[in-house]
């Protein structure tokens, strides 16, 4: 997502990252991954629940997840340990400027995320809709 910041800026999209670790962990995560977008902390995961994001040990830790971690470590990413509840699944939502949800994507398992290209296509469609109205 970080490498697409210019396109996201052009589309006038604000990205909000939401996590639930401690402040020190969040700072470290930002330094080591992506500090182009604000990281909001939801320590009690109230907003996670509000948006219907699930918890599942079984779907958080499976072979695909382990393969992903091995691939990340092999590519040079540092292991920072697990911060917070590791059975919490993530998700992506797109909200337009009227406050209407245009995409609600809840991860079915840890590695399940919409493709960045698909997100950008949808955001470009929203731009076209806006330009046409």
């Amino acid at each position: 997502m970080c490498q697409d910041k210019d396109e996201l800026d052009r589309l006038n999209v604000q990205v909000l990252l939401i996590g639930f670790g401690a402040v020190s962990s969040a700072r470290r995560w930002l330094e080591q991954t992506c500090d182009d977008f604000p990281l909001l902390l939801d320590p009690e995961r109230e907003v996670y629940r509000l948006y219907g994001l699930e918890e599942s040990w079984l779907r958080s830790w499976n072979l695909r997840t382990l393969r992903l971690y091995i691939r990340l470590l092999a590519s040079g990413r540092k292991w920072r340990g697990i911060q917070g509840k590791s059975n919490q699944l993530g998700g992506n939502f797109i909200v337009d400027s009227d406050g209407i949800i245009r995409l609600a994507y809840r991860s079915r398992e840890a590695t399940d995320r919409p493709a960045v290209d698909d997100l950008l296509d949808l955001l470009r469609d929203l731009e076209k809709d806006d330009s046409g109205s």
């Binding site: 909000l16 902390l41 993530g90 995409l103």
Partner: protein, 42 residues
């Protein structure tokens, strides 16, 4: 459960620098807001 075409529930959370940000604040300045809920910070 919130889905596409529903009104998004507003919320206010703090950044790592303790700056409060509300989802509704984004509507004034951005065409769209992309919320990325992370799994954990490991």
């Amino acid at each position: 459960m919130l889905g596409a075409a529903d009104k998004a529930s507003d919320f206010t959370l703090h950044t790592v620098d303790d700056v409060p940000i509300s989802l509704s604040d984004m509507f004034q300045t951005s065409r769209s807001t992309l919320l990325v809920f992370l799994r954990h910070l490991g």
